[in-house]
Symmetry: D2
């Protein structure tokens, strides 16, 4: 496993997340930050629905992208920041449940590029349904820490 390059990675990731107004807008939280893995949770509420009452695919994409991006950020030095280069996401099932959980993970870390994946699950009556699968490329900006 890749060694931890910043022992304070979790604080750094949480501080960045807290500054994202768009995450607050959709009522997302970041309860899990591990080395190379994060989870973003969103409760189902009316403001994020699409026309059928499920959570909007755009919100699913938003939390998948962010969870995987923060998984990447957890593995870079404190002096670096990260940017999403691109991602590809398949929507597998309607986001139907009381809550969505996006789990982002680093697949392959690198000095300039990090490849990640994310899975988004809908939780309904104690059952998890995989509703989205994402593959993402992240760019590392060495020497450009987030302010």
């Amino acid at each position: 496993m890749t060694p931890i390059s910043d022992p304070h990675f979790a604080e750094r990731v949480r501080a960045s997340f807290d500054k994202q107004n768009a995450m607050h807008l959709v009522k997302a939280s970041l309860p899990v930050v591990e080395h190379g893995l994060t989870e973003i949770h969103v409760p189902h509420w009316s403001g994020i629905e699409q026309q059928h009452g499920f959570v909007h695919g755009g919100v699913v994409g938003m939390i998948a992208d962010s969870a995987a991006g923060y998984a990447a950020m957890s593995m870079v030095p404190a002096s670096a920041s990260v940017l999403t280069v691109e991602y590809k996401m398949n929507l597998l099932a309607p986001a139907d449940g009381e809550k969505l959980v996006a789990r982002g993970q680093v697949v392959r870390p690198g000095r300039t590029l990090i490849v990640t994946k994310a899975e988004v699950f809908a939780l309904k009556d104690g059952k998890e349904t995989l509703c989205a699968l994402m593959q993402q490329t992240i760019m590392v900006m060495q020497g450009k820490a987030e302010k």
Copy 2:
């Protein structure tokens, strides 16, 4: 060019958009609905920002996905509905401007699958910058009109 299968496509698309709470949440509007092409606009406001004060990439993805999806919906019969199967998006520049414009277009219509693309532009001081490029696959649900 593919013939128009529903003369009331614009009303149908607008009615669907109006029912998407998540689009209202980010203050998105749908000023353009043509046959095979739509535009979604979002003003830059603090609620949709990421940590650097640009519009969050998740919101960029949300309007790209929806603009292209509605472009597809404009080409299906009134008795059908559409679903996003998957999309891939490259983020090309920070979403920096007073306003974002997502332009979705059908690349290849089909009975079961429609391939689309979207471009997202940031408008700043009268200048347009391409900030995202998306390629998307849409599934047509024949005989399943949106309620």
Copy 3:
């Protein structure tokens, strides 16, 4: 797990593979066909190299696409065939080794669409290196068996 809809899926998949001249051209073989999983192997030989002596990324994509497509084919009824709708592949490391192994797997089976993934490994001196990761969408043509 999804029930096996065709007990003779392996014969059907192998028969299709045998008819693909392009697979023979690159000297690919299909040693593993399970329900929802296949493996395509290619020895490293000079005819499939790129300019640095590694296996060409196009050949890596070719076997990833086919391995995942055949994993999907293994799960459809004998009366159906499959088509690649699209795929996205990240190249993670040079395809450097004596042999490449593409492992394709079904992620989510469906009646009309099947989502799959593939990993391609390079084997060198007994060591496996992950050199590509793919996410793919397959369409099922019900009632259109391969001749």
Copy 4:
């Protein structure tokens, strides 16, 4: 338009193509090399077919990937080389024709990353059919010229 950083880009691109055995294996040629645009052509011959007698999707992907990658290479300094980071391709129609033409183009050049696209057309009885659409990310290796 981006200025030409190497007046001998076409020779450099052609020299690289000539060293790709895999391109020779499928009988591909590179008749067009412009600044930010290339074309790779492949005649339809039995060795590159799939089971229905069309050109194999893997070969379509191979020439799309290479055409777009060489479009990127045409825009980098002579002291740099390029690598495919990832691509996403939709297959739109069977590759049915006497000849395939893959046209690769740079969408957005950058110092470290270049975003490109490719279209693959099948030519049959004087008619062009778009059979594949690709979106790709290329990494520039500054200071690492191809030998």
